[in-house]
C-alpha cells in the first residue's frame, strides 16, 4: 500500500529525514516511536503533502503511484487521512458542515453522488455514539474553543466518518487522560480491517497498550534504527531511547 524508499527531507536546508525506508501493507498497524526532534511529525506531514518540507532524495509510492506528485487534497481523496497533532480552528464554520463538505469532496472524486442530508446525519450519529462525542460538538465551529481532548476526539470522529484507507495518527495520544485515550483507541480499533492500514506516531508506549501494533519502528535522528514486534515498544519504555542509540548500526546517533 505504502512504500517509502530512502527518503531524505529538509526544512530550511536542514536535513530532518536522512534516508528513511518503510513499507506498509493493507491491514497492518505500524507504529513509529522516537525521541523529540527525531523527525516523526516531519514524516507525517510529508505523507500528507505539506509543502514546507523539501524532499531532496528518495521516493514514496502509494498504491503504486508516486505520492509526491499528488496534491494534498488528491492524497486525501485517494484515502490518506492524517489526524493532526495540533488540529486547526476554523471560526464560523460548523463542524458538521465542514465534515460534510470533506466527505462530499471525497465522494465526488470517486464519482459518487453527494450524501443526502438524512443519510449524512445517520452516519454521523452512529459514529458519535461510539466515540462518546457530544451532540453540541457538531454545531460548534471546527475545533474552536475545544479542549485538547475534544480536539483529538474530533480528529478520530472525522477519521471514522471519512473512512480512509491509510490513517496516520500524529501524536494523537499527547495531552489525553487515560479515559480519553481509551476512547480514542477504541475508535481506532473498530476501524481496523484487512484493507485499512494505520501509521501511528507516538512518543510514548502508553497508547500501544490499547492499539496493538503489528510492527514498531524506532526513529532516531531521521533514520529508522530498529524495527520489531509490539514487544519492542515495551522494551523502549523500559530502557529509553538511548538504548537503541547505542546500537552500532546508528553511527550518527552514536556521535552525539
Amino acid at each position: 500500500m505504502l512504500e517509502i524508499k530512502n527518503l531524505h527531507v529538509s526544512v530550511d536546508n536542514q536535513e530532518i529525514l536522512k534516508g528513511l525506508s518503510l513499507a506498509i501493507k493493507p491491514g497492518q498497524v505500524h507504529s513509529i516511536m522516537g525521541p523529540n526532534g527525531s523527525g516523526k511529525s516531519t514524516l507525517a506531514q510529508v505523507l500528507a503533502g505539506r509543502n514546507t518540507y523539501e524532499v531532496t532524495e528518495g521516493e514514496i509510492l502509494y498504491e503504486g503511484r508516486n505520492l509526491l506528485d499528488m496534491s494534498p487534497e488528491e492524497r486525501a481523496r485517494e484515502g490518506i487521512f492524517m489526524a493532526f497533532q495540533y488540529p486547526v480552528e476554523i471560526p464560523g464554520v460548523a463542524n458538521t458542515y465542514f465534515l460534510r463538505e470533506a466527505l462530499n469532496a471525497i465522494r465526488k472524486h470517486k464519482d459518487l453522488e453527494p450524501l443526502k442530508h438524512v443519510e449524512f446525519v445517520k452516519l454521523v450519529k452512529e459514529k458519535m455514539k461510539s466515540l462518546d462525542v457530544d451532540d453540541s460538538l457538531l454545531q460548534r465551529s471546527v475545533n474552536e474553543g475545544f479542549s485538547g481532548g475534544e480536539k483529538k476526539r474530533n480528529e478520530i470522529f472525522q477519521l471514522q466518518v471519512l473512512a480512509p484507507r491509510l490513517a496516520i495518527l500524529d501524536e494523537t495520544d499527547s495531552g489525553l487522560d487515560i479515559d480519553a485515550l481509551k476512547i480514542v483507541a477504541k475508535g481506532v480499533n473498530t476501524m481496523r480491517t484487512d484493507e485499512r492500514a494505520f501509521l501511528i506516531i507516538t512518543h510514548y508506549q502508553r497508547l500501544l497498550n490499547y492499539i496493538i501494533p503489528d510492527i514498531v519502528h524506532v526513529l532516531v535522528d531521521g533514520r529508522i534504527v530498529k524495527s520489531g514486534g509490539k514487544e519492542l515498544a515495551l522494551e523502549l519504555e523500559d530502557k529509553g531511547y538511548t538504548w537503541v542509540g547505542d546500537e552500532p548500526t546508528n553511527t550518527n546517533f552514536a556521535q552525539n
Binding site: 500528507a48 487534497e73 466527505l103 465551529s141
Partner: protein, 478 residues
C-alpha cells in the same frame, strides 16, 4: 503563502457585459442648464428644481473630502454625463412594453422581471442607468396601502410625502457627494409603509449602470410609519469598462415610533481589472433617523465590488429606546480600496447600537473600517457594542481601523472588540488534508469569518452573498 493560490482561478467579472440599446444621453458637463434639463425631463415641480439648484450652488463652494484612506486621481466632474436613459417612446405599463433587449439584460443578471418567476415574496424596482424601468408587485402592495415605486413616480404621485421627507435625513448640503447627488439625482426607489402595516414581502431595487461615461446618482427614500415593518434590499452591477465611473447615491430612512426598517445591500459594481484599471467609484451617503421611540434601523451590507467604496450607513438614534445596527462585510481584492463603516449617534435615552464589521483584504486590496459612536449628553443608559474584525489574505494587502468613540454621558456602556487575523497556511492545509481544494478552503474560511453578518441577510440573499464572496475571492489569494 505556501500553497500557490495565485494559480487558483481567474474568473472574470460575470456581469461585465454591455446592453446594446439606443440611449438618450445628456451632453457631458455639469451646470445649471443640465440640472434644469433633468428636472424638466422628469416633469418636476418648481420646488424640487429649486432644491436641486440650491444643492448645486452649495456644491460649487464645497471641497471634495480628503480625510478618507482611499486614493484616486482627481475626478473631472465636467467629463461626466449626468443623465442616460434607454430610449422609449412611452413609459412601460407592463412587461410587454419593455424593450426585449432590456428584459434579456435582467434575465442575464438573474433578476427576472416576470412576477410569476420571481423569488417568492420579493418585489423589484429595476433601475437602468438614470431611470426606473418597472416596479413589480405594485398592485399587491397597494392593497395594504404600501407605496413602492420609483422616486420619479413618487414625485408625480405623492409630492407632499416627497417634499416632506426628501432631505429630512441627509440635507442637500450634507457633504460633497450628497450635495452632488441632490443636484443631479435621477432615479431610485421610494417606499412608504403606513401605520401598523407589516410589509409582507422583501422589497428590492436592482441598480444597473450600462451607459459609458455616465454617473449614476440615485436617491432612495424609505418611510416607516408608527408600528410598521419593512425589509428592503438593493443589488448593483455594472459593465466592465476601462474608465472609472462615478456612483454617488443617497439613501434616507425614517423610522417612526415602534417602526422597524431593515436595509440590506449586496454591492457588486464592477471592481476594475486586476491592475486597477476601470471600476466604479462608489461614494455613497446612507443614513437613517430613528425619530420615534422604540424604533429600529438595521443596515446590513456586503460590499464586494467597486474600485473604491466610500460609505458609512449611519443611524441617528433620536427616539428613546431606539436601536441601530450595522452589519458589514467588505472585501477588497486586487487593487480595490474601501473606506467604510458607520456612525451611531445616540441622542435619546436607553438607545442601543450594535456594530459588526468584517473586512477582508486580498491581493493589493486596502480595507479601512471607520466608525463613530457618539453618546450625547441626554442619552442616558445608552449602550454600544462594536466588533471589528479584519482578515488578511496574502502579504500585499492592508487592513486599517479608525474607531472614534465620543461619550458625553457617564451612564453609557461601551464595548469594543477588534481582531486581525491572517488566513493561515495551517487552516488551508487542514482543509486540504480533508479533501477540499485550496480554493474551496479559502472560501470556506472566509464565509465562516462572515457568518455573523450573513445571518442578518434574508435567506435567499445570504446564499447569494456567500456565492458572490467566493467568486470575488477567486484568484485572489497569493
Amino acid at each position: 503563502m505556501s500553497v500557490d493560490l495565485e494559480q487558483l482561478s481567474k474568473q472574470e467579472y460575470k456581469y461585465g457585459f454591455v446592453t446594446n440599446i439606443e440611449q438618450e444621453i445628456a451632453p457631458k458637463g455639469l451646470n445649471e442648464e443640465v440640472i434644469r434639463m433633468i428636472s424638466a425631463k422628469k416633469n418636476e415641480p418648481e420646488w424640487l428644481l429649486e432644491w436641486r439648484l440650491k444643492a448645486y450652488r452649495n456644491w460649487l463652494t464645497m471641497k471634495e473630502p480628503k480625510w478618507h484612506n482611499v486614493h484616486y486621481p482627481p475626478i473631472d466632474y465636467n467629463d461626466i454625463s449626468y443623465y442616460a436613459a434607454p430610449k422609449q417612446t412611452k413609459k412601460p405599463k407592463s412587461l410587454d412594453d419593455i424593450d426585449p433587449e432590456l428584459r434579456a439584460t435582467y434575465e442575464k443578471l438573474g433578476i427576472p422581471l416576470e412576477e410569476q418567476m420571481m423569488l417568492a415574496g420579493v418585489a423589484v424596482d429595476a433601475v437602468f442607468d438614470s431611470v426606473s424601468l418597472i416596479t413589480t408587485f405594485k398592485e399587491k402592495l397597494a392593497e395594504l396601502n404600501i407605496i413602492f415605486c420609483s422616486i420619479s413616480d413618487a414625485v408625480q404621485e405623492y409630492p407632499e410625502l416627497v417634499k416632506k421627507y426628501m432631505g429630512f435625513v441627509v440635507p442637500h448640503n450634507d457633504n460633497y457627494f450628497a450635495a452632488l447627488n441632490s443636484a443631479v439625482f435621477t432615479d431610485g426607489s421610494f417606499v412608504y409603509v403606513p401605520k401598523g402595516v407589516r410589509c409582507p414581502m422583501e422589497l428590492s431595487t436592482y441598480f444597473r449602470i450600462n451607459a459609458e461615461n455616465t454617473g449614476q446618482f440615485e436617491r432612495t427614500l424609505i418611510i416607516a410609519e408608527e408600528g410598521s415593518y419593512v425589509s428592503y434590499l438593493e443589488g448593483c452591477t455594472a459593465p466592465k469598462r476601462d474608465e472609472n465611473q462615478l456612483h454617488a447615491a443617497v439613501v434616507e430612512l425614517i423610522a417612526h415610533n415602534d417602526a422597524t426598517i431593515k436595509y440590506s445591500t449586496i454591492q457588486n459594481w464592477y471592481p476594475g481589472d486586476k491592475n486597477g484599471k476601470g471600476g466604479i467609484y462608489n461614494f455613497v451617503t446612507k443614513r437613517g433617523r430613528c425619530v420615534g421611540r422604540n424604533s429600529h434601523i438595521s443596515w446590513t451590507q456586503v460590499e464586494t465590488g467597486s474600485a473604491i467604496t466610500w460609505k458609512y450607513p449611519s443611524c441617528l438614534l433620536e427616539g428613546d429606546n431606539s436601536v441601530g445596527e450595522f452589519y458589514s462585510v467588505a472585501l477588497t481584492n486586487n487593487r480595490q480600496q474601501a473606506d467604510t463603516g458607520t456612525k451611531m449617534i445616540h441622542i435619546g435615552k436607553n438607545t442601543s447600537s450594535t456594530i459588526v464589521s468584517k473586512g477582508i483584504s486580498a491581493g493589493y486590496g486596502q480595507n479601512t473600517y471607520r466608525g463613530l459612536v457618539q453618546i450625547g449628553k441626554n442619552a442616558s443608559r445608552a449602550r454600544n457594542y462594536t466588533q471589528c474584525d479584519s482578515m488578511l489574505i496574502g502579504d500585499k494587502c492592508g487592513a486599517h481601523t479608525f474607531p472614534y468613540i465620543e461619550v458625553k454621558n457617564s451612564t453609557a456602556r461601551m464595548e469594543h472588540e477588534a481582531s486581525t487575523s491572517k488566513i493561515g497556511d495551517d487552516q488551508i492545509f487542514y482543509c486540504q488534508q480533508r479533501g477540499l481544494s485550496a480554493e474551496d478552503a479559502v472560501s470556506l474560511i472566509v464565509n465562516g469569518f462572515c457568518k455573523q453578518v450573513f445571518r442578518e441577510l434574508p435567506f435567499e440573499f445570504a446564499v447569494e452573498a456567500e456565492r458572490l464572496l467566493s467568486v470575488s475571492l477567486e484568484g485572489s489569494v497569493g
